[in-house]
């Protein structure tokens, strides 16, 4: 299965943000594990999804704050990306809530995709800017 693993190159060098990235991955993985447990309680997955949504929201809020403070030039684009992902997570939640299947494909795929892209492009770009590269 496609659990997300933290890799050192994910680090963007800002302790707060890195720490939250790792925490976020842990929560996402917990949700994935719960969703794979076929006999498991659907409501547990709903609850975990809600939690992931809250964590991601808070994380983005912090990241945007750091970017604003540092005068990051791609903030608008990055922010739009944040809002889109939040919107997607909410759609996935609603689908699951109304009886659809989660998760493997949409949730994991979307999130891993997003995370991979996010780290490679935006966060990395930000990181390079901050380290003066």
């Amino acid at each position: 299965m496609t659990q997300i693993e933290w890799r050192p190159e994910f680090s963007i060098g800002i302790a707060d943000v890195d720490y939250e990235h790792q925490e976020l991955i842990a929560w996402i993985n917990r949700t994935l594990v719960a969703s794979l447990d076929a006999a498991g309680d659907r409501s547990a997955v709903t609850d975990l999804l809600g939690e992931v949504f809250a964590k991601v929201s808070a994380h983005f809020a912090l990241e945007e704050r750091v970017m604003r403070d540092q005068g990051y030039d791609q903030l608008t684009e990055h922010k739009r990306d944040h809002e889109l992902l939040l919107d997607d997570i909410r759609d996935i939640m609603d689908d699951f809530e109304s009886g659809g299947d989660l998760v493997e494909e949409r949730f994991a795929t979307r999130l891993s995709e997003w995370f991979g892209l996010h780290f490679r492009t935006y966060d990395a770009r930000f990181h390079h800017r901050m380290s003066g590269a």
Binding site: A15, G50, E51, S57, L62, R65, E83, L86, D91
Partner: protein, 695 residues
């Protein structure tokens, strides 16, 4: 007190409601009185700087330079002088109305005592500026201001010699005095600006500029008033005469005629009493408010959204105290927090979708918790029970919500619409808990919690964090702004919103996200305004109505200073009474006992006799009094400055003075035959050497 506040608040809200219909909420002057005050301050400053360039300080130059300004360059100096005056008058009006409104809205107790008390100080500064301004032009009004203010100040036991003695007659007036006035008239506004800054310190995003069109309208109206009714001087001052009457600026000088009735001491008692009563109002009675916001560090990552949104600067971002990996945390100063809850509405963890952990946001009000809000939303929506209904978050300071004729409205009261996190709207709509959500706040631009309506609108419009998710159909989200008297508007909004929901399609999943800039606006009831052809003339009429009293009361009605056929006699002196004991030569033995540096050949006691003086006109005693010596050891001069109205015509004057300890008889006396002209100021002065003079 509460009754009075309710009465004033009701009055203001009705007026505001009426003005909304004429100018719209953005231009409503009553919701931006403080900002108008700032605008007027800058207008006064700019015009004042220009006037100062041409103002000469000097007994005759002061008046002459102002006359030149007014007439020889009426197109610049004259207009700016008028703007300087009328903007100052406007500042008095705006300040007192602002004060009355904040009182009526009960925005002076609790945390807000600070702005109230610093505002009182500002009133003091405004009056110092106004009075010195009228004084320095040295016309007949200035003469009245000089004598009256001096008399008022002389009632304070702090001057060794009465200030009034500077204004005995033309010969005794010094040009330096005008330099002093100019200095005070510049220093006071500078200090005032400092206190204006202090006044708004506890508010974030304090409004110091009125709406642009209102600014333009104010400047144009002041300009028009300046052309129609130019500010003029009232004839050169002449201390040897007393004008029969003088036109007062009633905004600044209304209490001067009062002094004739209650005396200078009475006026001090009244004005200080007024300030004192005003100063204790924030604690009468002390505000018992809900508990201030608390931060839950486990859910705070230091994103600072609450810090950005707090209208009262009660939140600061400080270094992390709990060892978590984050660098900052939000800290609430309970002394600044008014418990509006706008911070909780901004917190990204205040989302009702959280279930795996308890719904504890990073920041919230203990008495209006976010978990409790979710419970209230759930049970309120259950109450709708399948009916086509709306969930209304109602600001407790705004209009009530009545049940619509079709469908139903479930109402949740909140301290401020800004306390509702946007994800609650998301929850209710996507889970079909209600057909629509209405955020029902107080007045659109006169938000009770300052920024609640603005932040709420912008969150829903996805232009300020936290955004309401873009996929949420905005036709199901309503904004309704109505103060507590705009009940009709609120009822109509609820009715229309519920009706509008009837024809909408189900909320579909996977709606496309609107393209950049294509997000639909939230539902709002059509603005209740009068048609444009009626509004424009009405706005002009309102402006004229606001300007007319400025023009009229700045020089009318006149105050009568003396009777038709009356003259004035001024009795004055500054004279040291004789020493209580004669000086005594010290004997050589006495001197030998003293340390060498203290060996004075003559030893003098410091105290002096008080000075007794009496004045008779035509055999009738006009004045008799004993003046105590000045100084902490009673070793200074005694002094007197008194003016008496006297019928004009030939008068026989006798004046006698005693400055020694003698029981009877006098040390000095004089008689004179006077022929008093109407309006003449005859000065009877005692000096040593020289004795009495009658001039």
């Amino acid at each position: 007190m509460n009754f009075l506040k309710r009465l004033i608040r009701g009055g203001f809200e009705r007026l505001e409601s009426g003005l909304d219909a004429v100018c719209g909420p953005r231009l409503n002057p009553l919701v931006q009185l403080g900002a108008l005050g700032w605008l007027l301050f800058w207008l006064i400053t700019i015009s004042g700087i220009y006037l100062y360039i041409f103002f000469d300080t000097g007994v005759t130059q002061a008046y002459a330079s102002v006359e030149d300004l007014t007439h020889k360059q009426w197109w610049a100096g004259g207009i700016l002088r008028s703007i300087h005056r009328y903007a100052s008058d406007g500042l008095v009006v705006v300040t007192f109305v602002h004060m009355l409104r904040e009182f009526g809205m009960d925005r002076l107790r609790g945390v807000r005592w600070f702005a109230w008390v610093t505002g009182l100080l500002l009133i003091g500064f405004i009056y110092v500026c106004g009075i010195t301004g009228y004084w320095m032009v040295w016309d007949q009004l200035a003469q009245y201001v000089a004598l009256t203010t001096s008399r008022w100040l002389d009632a304070l036991p702090i001057f060794a010699e009465p200030i009034s003695r500077n204004f005995v007659n033309n010969a005794g007036l010094s040009g330096r005095f005008f330099s002093l006035m100019a200095f005070v008239h510049i220093a006071a506004p500078l200090l005032m600006l400092l206190f204006m800054w202090v006044h708004i310190q506890r508010y974030s995003h304090a409004r110091v500029y009125p709406a642009r069109n209102l600014t333009i309208a104010t400047v144009v109206a002041l300009l028009a008033l300046s052309l129609v009714e130019p500010a003029l001087s009232q004839g050169a001052a002449n201390l040897d005469e007393l004008a029969a009457s003088v036109g007062l600026d009633w905004f600044y000088l209304a209490f001067y005629p009062l002094m004739d009735a209650v005396g200078p001491g009475g006026l001090w008692a009244l004005s200080l009493g007024f300030l004192l009563v005003m100063a204790i109002l924030p604690w009468a009675p002390p505000l018992r408010r809900p508990a201030p916001a608390v931060v839950h560090l486990d859910n705070c990552n230091g994103c600072a959204r609450c810090f950005d949104d707090c209208p009262y600067s009660a939140i600061t971002m400080q270094p992390r105290s709990d060892g978590a990996a984050f660098s900052q945390e939000a800290v609430v100063d309970p002394d600044l927090c008014v418990s509006c809850g706008i911070c909780a509405g901004a917190c990204p963890t205040a989302t009702p979708f959280r279930r795996a952990t308890a719904l504890v946001p990073g920041i919230e009000l203990p008495e209006h918790g976010i978990a409790a809000l979710r419970d209230r939303v759930t049970s309120a929506c259950q109450g709708l029970a399948g009916k086509p209904g709306v969930l209304v978050f109602r600001c407790e300071h705004g209009a009530d919500v009545a049940q619509p004729s079709t469908g139903a409205a479930a109402v949740i009261d909140v301290p401020c619409a800004g306390m509702v996190p946007p994800s609650f709207i998301d929850l209710v709509i996507t889970r079909h808990m209600a057909s629509g959500v209405m955020l029902a706040g107080c007045h659109e631009t006169g938000c009770y919690q300052r920024l609640g309506t603005e932040w709420t609108s912008r969150r829903v419009a996805a232009t300020r964090d936290p955004y309401l998710r873009q996929r949420i159909p905005r036709e199901r989200v309503a904004l309704s702004w109505a103060s507590s008297v705009q009940q009709d508007a609120r009822s109509a909004a609820v009715e229309q919103f519920v009706a509008s929901l009837g024809g909408l399609a189900e909320v579909a999943p996977h709606r496309p996200v609107p393209a950049e800039g294509q997000l639909q606006a939230a539902w709002q009831a059509p603005a209740r305004r009068w048609p444009g052809w009626l509004r424009w003339p009405l706005q002009a009429l309102l402006l004229a109505g606001a300007m007319w009293p400025l023009g009229f009361l700045s020089a009318r009605p006149e105050v009568v200073l003396r009777g038709e056929n009356e003259a004035v006699v001024t009795l004055t002196f500054s004279h040291a009474g004789r020493p209580l004991q004669e000086c005594r030569k010290q004997t050589p033995e006495e001197l030998a006992k003293l340390p060498p540096n203290m060996r004075r050949p003559v030893d003098c006691a410091r105290g002096r006799w008080p000075v007794y003086i009496e004045l008779e006109l035509d055999g009738r005693q006009v004045f008799a009094g004993t003046e105590e010596p000045a100084g902490l050891w009673n070793d200074g001069p005694s002094s007197l400055f008194e003016r008496f109205p006297v019928p004009a015509g030939p008068r026989q004057a006798v004046v006698r003075l005693r400055d020694s300890g003698r029981e009877s008889g006098f040390d000095y006396s004089a008689t004179a035959s006077l022929d008093l002209r109407p309006g003449q100021n005859l000065v009877v002065e005692f000096r040593q050497p020289g004795g009495f003079t009658f001039r």
